[in-house]
Subunit: 553 residues, 2 copies
């Protein structure tokens, strides 16, 4: 029995959704679970995406034994292109996941730097003191895996993202047997998915969506247009099956949907009767009631196939026509509600009949609800429990569930990113807090974006910028000519002109009050800033960023 | 029988939620229904609020007979302070509504200009060719009214915002009798609330919230902190009743909540047993299980009482303590989800137990669901139907409901703001489209904000601004000294310095290529802009707004 302690260090995904990343440390060995990205929230102006801070890992490069990827969603693999160049370690992922990772790395030109290894359910790895085994879990993308990690202190179970669908469309259902056996032998620590800890009851099976699709395709007298997440391969399978049943052909629109469907077909995760998948140029040859279009755009992404159709974008190869039935087979990811609603409105305006989550069972989500979370806790019977994947309230509610099952509160740890939990065999405590801030990615690379920059962007977005140029004749202590102004994002041209003219008089007057100080740049700049700020606020209650440019001093 | 036609002109609230305003025109008479505001959506940078365009009405000033206000919510009265100064006409509203209007007008200094008149359910007005009668409807604010409008062409029924709560907490339930009688006699046109046309079934009665509050106050061993909409007086009544039942005192926090509660108490819409409402300085004298705090902040408003508590704001008179139970007795208004979730997370972090819509029946909304909308259509049996109050999909779904009841599609008009519907006794059609765009309000006044300004703000918010000053020696056709740069919202200080230095070399090089043209301002400006834009994009994939300031030319 070891006297060493195990360190659990969440680097992302705990307390905030997305950019999932977790480090486990024992003696000189560190393994990492997942490396996801997060999409920027409203305040993060000009940010393309957000990834975890890996400085803790970079400082311990020689201890890194390997990275384990649970599944291929962006919030679990999306950070890889940006961190692979800085972390030298082998990456282990299942076949489908590995394909998606390769594609992303290739896109970002980081492919060659990555040591990718394919694993299967049942694969066993030895990474220093950690012995890892993968087991299948049911989620909304093929090849989702949970982890069993044997450590000198005991066994750790990590669910990844999961639900307990007894009748999944493709892929194996979550492997209870294995988990239950472990539980019987005794599990030291459980990490379990908290994403839907708010929802009572059980998550419905994917099967119910088949019934809806079946019904829609039977009823629709015209074309059926369906959008869903490109990576939700099982949903694509359901669409193909329903289309086959009702003698409709399937046309796939949108780059990501086409790519993933092709990969899934080649790898056998997707099966289609011969001839049912058609090329778009064959569309004209079929009557409308023989057509199913499967398109990207379930989140109202402005450049997606569905949104271009909805907006009559000339670049779109297909246009919405009255009589079309559109099924939004997804729910909006938090933050996308407005975009999705706007898309639904546009589709209705084009004369389509739109069926979406509020109107019918067009989607079931990929995470377990409260009863499933309880069931898992009962199977695993862990000594310690750390809820993962969720905003703070989700983690807290998941912890309450565990307590309601009789688990002692002292053995449940609601961690947030950067907390360092040290576990012994009998007890654990948070011993440290490391840097685990957001790292912003913009364009091609991670780059330096401090709060001052974001604050300025917020100000600029509210009231714009006013640049005023003042030429000073230092000898004569007077202004050399009238100041000049350039304003952007400040005020419209109608009222703008007059206001700008007036503001020049204000500046001239303000500076003429202390002529003898017209040799001091700082004095002039402050005077200009203050007098203009007062003026603009009094006149129109606006506070633009004012940039004085002083020449001649 | 008249040969004239009736004109229906929605100026706001159809196709987009909020800023409800509708004009009805017959011969030389125009009446207006409601004058609401809309809160800006994400793209409307720097906009405080949005009101309807009233230019159509201003051009017909001498035909304006009166304005009818259905109830006191912002999306029905919020535009009044900004339009009252420009429209000379009497305004009719029920007692409670009128109080709220007065308060808003006073705040904005427009009180003296308004001709406010109080009406009651049953009040009858003659406004030119229009004879108007008010009838009570049940909604989430006291004194909500529907309208019966007699015209030479026939009777119009306008529901206002409504639901059919048979057991409301305060105020009268919606008056079926009156509506049914009208239906029997024949109704020309129905305007009905579409806000919840997406929801199947019936909207639950406010009563069920009482059960939840009762349960929470019985179970909670500590303080109970409840937040809801300040104007939801019936909810405040439920809180007071539950508190009384469980021997708890009620403390109200937040300006708007205090103000409205006081008004409602004075006017008798709210009743409280003597001594149950306490001043905050008495808080310390009571044990926690005798305390209920009623606070603003149901939408996560950053300056609200609850959010200040959640964030340990020193300005807050009360702090959250472990053992507190917080009830969010509301649902997030679309767009506020993130703010509300952030607040819930903060409350959990402070050790509170938080109960919100996903976990319990803490709220019911104020609008009728599909079954209620059908019931109303059946009562009224209108010849023509115009769904009102909703985004486009809500209007379209409401229209489908009417068709499903056997109403001919040609008699149902899904209008959007600015459409001019001309109705005769037998048929109607859209004859025109008038200007009904958003009018932006910022700070104290409506002001000029064209698309160019919003576009610049969007660019500034993404990548910031770079101001580069270039002094030219025209005689010598060379730069007089090294250019200077000021950047805001562009890049952080760490990587910024070096990049800025390099960009100066780029500019100098770019300009030195055509020295002879260094007398042409436009040439210099273009050269600077283009060379810097290329450089910044190549270097960090960013596109700041570049403002060249050229002196000496």
């Amino acid at each position: 029995m070891s006297t060493q302690n195990l360190k659990v260090i969440p680097l992302g995904g705990l307390g905030e959704i997305g950019k999932n990343m977790m480090a486990l440390e024992y003696a000189d060995d560190i393994i990492i679970i997942d490396a996801g990205l997060m999409f920027p929230s409203e305040g993060m102006l000009g940010v393309d995406l957000v990834i975890p801070d890996i400085s803790y890992l970079r400082e311990r490069q020689r201890n890194l034994r390997g990275m384990l990827i649970t599944h291929g969603h962006e919030d679990h693999i999306g950070a890889l292109p940006y961190i692979v160049p800085y972390l030298d370690l082998p990456i282990y992922a299942a076949k489908f996941t590995q394909k998606l990772i390769s594609a992303e790395l290739r896109q970002r030109g980081a492919k060659d730097k990555a040591k990718l290894n394919v694993v299967h359910s049942g694969s066993k790895l030895t990474l220093g003191n950690f012995k890892v085994e993968f087991f299948p879990v049911c989620h909304s993308i093929p090849d989702s895996m949970g982890l069993i990690i044997h450590t000198p202190l005991g066994v750790i179970v990590h669910t990844g993202d999961f639900k307990l669908d007894y009748t999944p469309i493709i892929a194996e259902p979550t492997d209870f047997g294995k988990i239950a056996q472990l539980g019987a032998k005794g599990v030291l620590l459980l990490f379990s998915d908290s994403t839907y800890a708010e929802l009572a009851g059980y998550t419905l099976s994917e099967r119910i969506v088949s019934d809806t699709l079946d019904h829609v395709m039977a009823e629709a007298s015209g074309r059926v247009i369906i959008t869903t997440f490109a990576s939700l391969v099982s949903r694509i399978q359901q669409v193909i099956d329903a289309a086959a049943k009702h003698g409709r052909r399937v046309f796939i629109l949108g780059r990501s949907m086409k790519e993933i469907a092709n990969v899934a077909l080649k790898m056998g995760y997707l099966t289609a009767p011969a001839g049912i998948l058609c090329r778009l140029d064959e569309l004209g040859t079929l009557p409308n009631n023989r057509v199913v279009l499967l398109a990207t755009g379930s989140q109202g992404e402005p450049t997606s196939a569905l949104v271009r159709m909805a907006n009559r974008d000339p670049r779109s190869q297909v246009q919405i026509a009255p009589g079309d039935t559109v099924v939004i087979s997804a729910t909006p990811v938090p933050g996308n509600e407005a975009l999705v609603n706007k898309t639904i409105d546009s589709l209705f305006r084009q004369g389509a009949n739109v069926i979406y989550d509020k109107l019918a069972r067009v989607h079931v989500h990929g995470h377990g609800s409260q009863e499933e979370l309880k069931l898992l806790l009962n199977f695993v019977k862990p000594k310690f429990f750390v809820p993962v994947h969720g905003e703070y309230r989700h983690l807290r509610l998941h912890a309450k569930l565990a307590e309601s099952l009789g688990m002692p509160g002292d053995n449940i740890f609601v961690l947030e990113d950067g907390d360092v939990l040290e576990l012994g065999q009998e007890a654990g405590r948070i011993v440290d807090k490391i840097a685990a801030d957001n790292v912003y990615v913009s364009g091609s690379a991670t780059y330096d974006l401090d709060d001052a920059v974001l604050r300025d962007r917020r100000l600029l977005s509210q009231d714009g910028v006013v640049v005023i140029t003042i030429a000073v004749d230092v000898e004569k202590r007077k202004l050399a000519g009238r100041p000049r102004v350039v304003a952007r994002g400040f005020i419209g041209s109608r009222d703008g002109g007059a206001l700008i003219e007036k503001c020049l008089d204000v500046v001239v007057a303000a500076l003429s009050r202390d002529k003898k100080r017209l040799a001091e740049r700082n004095f002039i700049e402050d005077r200009v800033r203050n007098s203009l700020a007062d003026f603009f606020y009094k006149q129109i209650h606006r506070c633009p960023i004012i940039i004085p440019v002083i020449t001649g001093v």
